[in-house]
């Protein structure tokens, strides 16, 4: 792993801090993979951050773009990256050289929280590499749970695979194809790992959607006969033959795929006419997209959890009294919300604290729910003392959506000054729309469902019996961004190599967007 030109191992004084902090964290019940800290100079940090935490990725210009942005932000003093940690077993975390000791300690405590989350939150099970297909119940994990998550190696292998193709076909060609694939990277099923579905269960088939025969009656047509002649004119063998023929026809006319397919990338990998190198690259993109999925599904919780623990451990155990001011300043910058933006660190942190308090005081359950007396609710305290146990349970069994859906209360919403905003076309700006609990919660959840992205399905891979791809956007009130959608259709065409169609809704009217390899067109109304 240590492929850096410089020594990145921790100096002794930080190593002893690490040991101390990890011991304290374990005493509080945190349970994490082994953590390897490395200390990096700012440009190494920027490089690794540009590679999303990994020392080795496949070559692509967007990492260079990210690097430039990070370096600029650092140089201009706009921001610096304090810490980074990757979901790997053992977990690697990076410290920035030259940070003060308080900061380094804070980062270490924060990282312990993250790694505990990586290990224990169920969504991250999707990144276990020794999947045998069957998943154990997240609660009843084996006591010595020690999954293979050597993603550093896997990412490096991806890099080697892509470089091999680049060596053969030229980086420009490869990179262009990667660009196209990246346009498709969000067309995955984020729950694929838990769906129990194994890939490759459908293979390409002759498909014929010529008629609606599929829905035709199962009644076997008989030849006309008088009653007494029936068994001679329509003998059993004849009827059987007819039935078999009908079954065959029905089989043939079935839609392909049979059910709308959510995992568009999987479908393309299985069915698109890809060259080997194309297949290889698309596969890399899909696997990496799936790797990052759990982090997107739990951003609020993950940051909230890590922040909860670093502030608890720092203030209760780790800090020297002389360091408290520095810590407070740093903590406030982590938790501030500027310009009305939602800060996931703060939201998650406050909600975990809120849950702990409620379960400590017994503010849950039927009695609590049914109580209408505000004063009583306010002073409700059953001394249940279940808070700590509850938040540990929550960190294992929830993702951002279920976390917010279940635990946000109207009181929390007011206390945290949450609001929803929307575009006002009259004033040509975003405006605060509501502070109403229901509305805020709805907006909040809507932004998280499917990662705030549209649902896209493959409906038909032989549309119009011409081998065209037909996708459907399940419209839920918001249109797609059209210029982007056109580009994505182009990318789909590059992979599918036949015209592609997307059924969607544009300005309240059903529409089909189409790219045939040369031109874009949008027709109103459903075509399928």
């Amino acid at each position: 792993m240590s492929e850096f030109a410089l020594k990145t191992a921790l100096p002794a004084y930080l190593r002893s801090e690490q040991e101390r902090i990890e011991r304290i964290a374990k005493d509080h019940g945190l349970d994490f993979f082994p953590i390897v800290f490395e200390i990096l100079s700012y440009d190494q940090m920027n490089e690794i951050a540009a590679y999303e935490g990994f020392p080795n990725r496949y070559p692509h210009w967007r990492y260079g773009m990210e690097y430039e942005r990070l370096s600029k932000s650092y140089e201009y003093g706009l921001s610096k990256i304090y810490e980074m940690v990757i979901n790997n077993n053992p977990s690697y975390a990076y410290l920035l050289e030259g940070n003060s000791l308080v900061d380094q300690k804070l980062v270490m405590a924060h990282v312990c929280g993250h790694v505990d989350f990586f290990k224990n939150n169920f969504t991250f099970r999707a990144t276990d590499l020794d999947q045998s297909g069957s998943r154990s119940d997240p609660v009843n994990r084996p006591k010595d749970y020690n999954p293979n998550r050597r993603w550093i190696d896997k990412m490096a292998n991806h890099g080697a695979r892509v470089r091999k193709h680049a060596g053969r076909y030229g980086i420009t060609k490869i990179e262009e194809f990667i660009d196209q694939c990246l346009s498709l990277e969000n067309l995955i099923d984020p729950h694929a790992a838990f769906s129990g579905k194994r890939h490759g269960q459908f293979g390409p088939r002759e498909d014929d959607s010529s008629g609606d025969l599929a829905t035709a009656t199962r009644e076997v047509p008989r030849l006309r006969s008088k009653d007494y002649m029936e068994s001679f004119i329509n003998p059993v063998e004849f009827l059987d033959r007819q039935r078999a023929r009908m079954d065959r026809e029905q089989e043939k006319s079935k839609n392909f795929p049979e059910h709308p397919e959510r995992d568009v990338l999987r479908f393309l990998l299985d069915n698109a006419p890809l060259d080997r190198w194309e297949h290889d690259i698309l596969e890399v993109i899909r696997e990496e997209a799936l790797y990052f999925t759990p982090q997107r599904q739990t951003k609020i919780m993950n940051e909230g959890w890590a922040t909860y623990w670093h502030s608890k451990l720092m203030t209760e155990k780790i800090l020297d009294p002389s360091e408290i001011i520095d810590f407070a300043e740093n903590a406030s910058s982590v938790l501030r919300s500027s310009g009305g933006r939602l800060n996931p660190y703060k939201l998650g942190y406050e909600l975990f604290r809120n849950i702990e308090e409620r379960w400590d005081k017994g503010q849950f359950g039927k009695e609590w729910e049914e109580c209408d007396d505000l004063a009583e609710k306010k002073n409700w305290n059953r001394r249940s003392g279940l808070g700590r146990a509850k938040i540990f349970e929550v960190r294992a069994l929830y993702n951002d959506i279920t976390f917010l859906d279940e635990f946000i209360t109207p009181e929390f919403c007011i206390e945290q000054k949450l609001f929803s905003f929307a575009w006002s076309s009259r004033n040509d700006r975003f405006e605060i729309e509501s502070r109403e609990f229901r509305q805020v919660k709805q907006k909040l959840l809507f932004g998280l469902i499917n990662g705030g992205q549209p649902y896209i399905y493959v409906l038909n891979a032989n549309y119009d019996n011409r081998g065209e791809l037909y996708l459907k956007h399940e419209h839920q009130g918001m249109d797609l961004r059209i210029d982007y959608a056109r580009e994505v259709l182009k990318a789909l065409h590059r992979v599918w190599k036949r015209p592609v169609n997307l059924e969607t809704v544009l300005e309240n009217k059903p529409a089909v967007m189409r790219f045939d390899g040369k031109d874009h067109s949008e027709s109103k109304g459903k075509a399928a």
Binding site: A5, D43, A50, G53, N56, P59, W61, R62, Y63, G64, M65, E66, Y67, R69, K72, S79, I81, E83, M84, I86, N87, V107, H114, E175, L182, E185, L187, F292, Q295, E303, S337, G339, G340, R341, L342, N343, K346, Q416, F419, S420, F421, W423, F430, E431, I432, E433, S434, R435, V440, G447, I456, G477, M478, D479, R481, I482, Y484, A485, V488, A491
Partner: protein, 372 residues
Amino acid sequence: MSLKIDQDHSRFRSIVRGKIRENLKKYISSGELIGKQGKELVSIPIPQIDIPHFVFGDKQQGGTGQGSGNVGDAMSPGQPGDEEGEGGKKAGEGEGKHGLEVDVTLDELAAILGEELELPDIEDKGKSKIISAKDRYTGVRKVGPESLKHFRRTYREALKRQISTGSYAPSDPMVVPIREDRRYRSWKTEAEPVANAVIIYMMDVSGSMGDEQKEIVRIESFWIDTWLRKQYRGLEARYIIHDAVAREVDRDTFFHTRESGGTMISSAYKLCAQLIDTHYPADEWNIYPFHFSDGDNWSMDDTLLCAQVLREQLLPKANMFAYGQVESPYGSGQFIKDLREHFGADERVVLSEIRDKDAIVQSIKEFLGKGK
């Protein structure tokens, strides 16, 4: 130290270069670069190169926020994402799309400009064959005059020797160079042809030249300057403004003065000729007079005088003479026609009409497209 990301970074840079080329026209006519110009670098804002996905249109989406404010209050515009403590996540997802500023050297910009407008490199007209001999220190050797002793290298050699022979004691860190330790700078004399060039900008600042016209002149001269500077190191620039009389001014005044009154173009041409005679001998200098006006001259007589000065005094000495006519609501625009009549066939006179900001690109091409 070289980083793994360098390759990705350089490919990104070349994509950006392409982007700059695409957008060059926009940059040229917007003039926003001129203000941004630092020492040698200009920052060019380029849109972050987004990878398109199926996403929702911006405006229908909205979202949730946190903080004070009443229903109906405006949201503050997106702030650049705070990245402190990202936990191995994609930085700055979602909100706060950020523009990217890319630093480009003026040289690089000129090269891009040249490529895009297909400007030929300027042929030195052979006047300026001054060879200046220049000494460059290129290396280190063991002998030489004491005045060129390279102290640091000498010290280092001595230290090396002492450490290797064990005569260096860290507690008493005394380093004494002996003869073999001494190092001297060595030099090479390089002959450097110097192409001297001067641009003489002349501008009509009479009442009819408004701010918009001057902005056009400003932008256009910036780009001409940038291009010629790439061609000639040490380009000099002189500025002349004129209404009925001409005078030499500094750059700042040149672009910001507004005079009023009549227009005698000949006054500027005469001053220009005088400037050349006194400071820029024609056999040593590449001379580029550029004149901008709205094409309104006082009288036909003066125009004739202009033609005469041009023919007899300026053209024999200059590489080319460029006249750019900015369209203004007040000017008659006659002057360019007169020049065309007199010098239509003369290759050394380049005439260009600049209708608006968008015409600047074409005008630059006309001025510099001949490689004079």
